[in-house]
């Protein structure tokens, strides 16, 4: 159950209004520390910052249109051991979903965590944002420009720049499963911002005089989200279809990944690839010279570094069931390979086998961590 309220925007400044809201949360000890995107002094972008002193909230922007790193990884560091105090985290929808997956893999503990999810306007590549901000001098209005489309759900990126592909095809513009939801869609952000609170928190915020809530709901927001989701799904399916008609066999996949340099950036950026002892970080793949030569001998020659196809297939088989589609693998790839599209398109079907939607609920067990006695009987030749 949850309750909601409209936060009145002061001085036509939605970001400033939210900053005050977060200041209240910190000063009145609803949270003891807050993880929130804060502007870099260079103006080139934002970075998640763990803030204790409310004075550091100057220049934070909960709506920052970049995801330089997947915050779920940061939250794992902050909660895997008891942080000893309440940590609030301001996250985009895909980050909340990654957190939910990591909870199920015991990498995040929710006990002391307050998840604050923000309606996502989409994000730019960090490099694109930096360029844009230098062109504009300050970059102050980059978020503002995206916000103009929030009311209608028609978000237009800056001329000459695209939102990340993962954002263009993201069917979850609004966060679910968060303790606090900051809603932008369906309302005029110069005037009001929708805030939804989990029941217990609603009481606490009212008591502390921060925000009084009523019953849940904003029908204008719901209908904008519904339309936006539909559009995104359509675009997503186009991207998946294009990928599927391009990759039909081994050779096609090799071609799609042909310029991969096996730098592992996609894996390092991925929130689901959390293993501390990942096989690719162990000496398993540090072969001796004679091993390489034997392969070269058998195949006539062998590309170096080796094991590129193996790398992608292993990662797929280990984690694609939990891929939440954040696209940070794409953003991390130096050669613009369609890694996220591969993982999302394959993920859709593999997740479908188990009727599993990553990030949907902490109560659903991830497919790799469970089984059913009466499933997949054909696999053992006994159907």
């Amino acid at each position: 159950m949850s309750k909601s309220a409209m936060l009145e925007v002061k001085n036509n400044d939605p970001i400033g209004t939210l900053r005050d809201f977060f200041r209240d949360l910190l000063e009145k000890k609803v949270v003891d520390a807050l993880l929130i995107p804060k502007k870099l002094p260079s103006g080139d972008g934002y970075c998640q910052t763990l803030i204790r002193n409310p004075e550091l909230l100057v220049d934070v922007n909960p709506l920052a249109p970049t995801v330089p790193v997947q915050s779920a990884r940061l939250i794992s560091h902050l909660t895997i051991m008891d942080p000893g105090c309440k940590v609030g985290a301001v996250l985009k929808s895909c980050e909340v979903r990654a957190v939910i997956e990591l909870v199920k893999f015991l990498q995040v503990k929710l006990d002391r965590l307050i998840l604050i999810g923000v309606d996502c306007l989409g994000t730019y590549e960090p490099s694109g944002y930096a360029k844009m901000s230098r062109e504009k001098g300050k970059g102050g209005s980059i978020t503002g420009n995206l916000l103009k489309g929030a009311r209608e759900g028609k978000i237009k990126p800056q001329d000459g720049y695209d939102l990340r592909l993962a954002c263009q095809i993201c069917e979850y513009p609004n966060p679910q499963n968060a303790d606090v939801i900051i809603g932008l869609f369906g309302h005029n952000p110069q005037k009001e911002i929708y805030v939804e609170l989990r029941d217990g928190l609603a009481g606490e915020l009212a008591e502390k005089g921060i925000l009084a809530t009523t019953e849940k709901g904003s029908s204008s927001r719901d209908s904008v989200i519904e339309r936006l989701t539909e559009e995104r799904l359509k675009r997503r399916d186009e991207v998946f279809d294009a990928f599927r008609s391009r990759v039909k066999n081994l050779q096609d996949l090799m071609d799609a990944l042909s310029t991969c340099i096996r730098c592992h950036n996609c894996m390092v950026a991925c929130p689901i690839c959390y293993c501390k002892e990942c096989v690719f970080k162990t000496p398993t793949f540090e072969h001796k010279a004679d091993q390489f030569l034997r392969w070269a001998d058998r195949k006539g020659g062998v590309r170096m570094p080796t094991d590129t196809l193996l790398f992608h297939l292993i990662r797929l088989s280990h984690m694609v069931t939990s891929c939440i589609g954040c696209g940070l693998c794409d953003s991390a790839c130096p050669n613009d390979l369609p890694v996220a599209t591969l993982f999302r398109a394959v993920g859709q079907k593999v997740q479908g086998l188990f009727d599993y939607t990553p990030g949907r609920s902490v109560d659903e067990e991830p497919p790799v961590a469970t089984f059913k006695e009466d499933e997949l009987q054909g696999e053992s030749g006994t159907n």
Binding site: V247, K248, N249, L250, D252, L253, M254, S258, V279, W295, R298, K299, G300, G301, V302, R303, T306, D307, T308, L309, L310, L313, I314, L316, S317, H318, V320, T321, L342, A345, V346, K349, V350, L353, P367, V368, T370, F371, K372, E373, E375, L376, E379, S380, G381, T382
Partner: protein
């Protein structure tokens, strides 16, 4: 031209299929010599990495042998193996690789004949399929 002889890499559970394979040997069951056996403690210990490595390096088929449902010494390793194989095969299917080179079978310690028959059948099927195209893939 010589007839194509497929190579199978088999990951066999110690408590069942591995012992079944042994029994096939001691009771002189005939089966083709195309198989290289790797001794595992449980089918649940077969990570997809082993299956993939074998196939990408050119094995024509991979056989995973585990205890019958309900008989796993570690209770549920075989069910987990089945899920893992199911996931891997769906991935293969999605990127257009043939899944038919991966066989998972439940063969108990007393089923020496079943083991011999399985290998015989697998070799026949793999002969029909021809060599694994990854064998010559220098780019992989």
């Amino acid at each position: 031209m010589e007839e194509f002889e497929p190579r199978i890499i088999a990951f066999l559970c110690h408590w069942c299929t591995y012992t079944g394979a042994d029994l096939a040997g001691t009771t002189r069951q005939q089966y083709p010599p195309n198989i290289r056996i790797i001794h595992m403690m449980c089918s649940g210990a077969v990570d997809t990495i082993y299956i993939l490595k074998a196939l990408i390096d050119g094995a024509d088929g991979v056989l995973i042998g585990g205890c019958h449902p309900g008989d796993c010494h570690y209770q549920t390793g075989n069910y987990k193996a089945r899920r893992r194989v199911g996931i891997l095969k769906e991935i293969f299917h999605q990127v257009g690789f043939t899944e038919d080179r991966i066989w998972l079978r439940w063969i108990s310690a007393s089923e020496g004949k079943l083991f011999a028959d399985t290998v015989t059948q697998m070799v026949e099927e793999l002969k029909k399929m021809g060599p694994n195209p990854m064998k010559k893939l220098w780019l992989a």
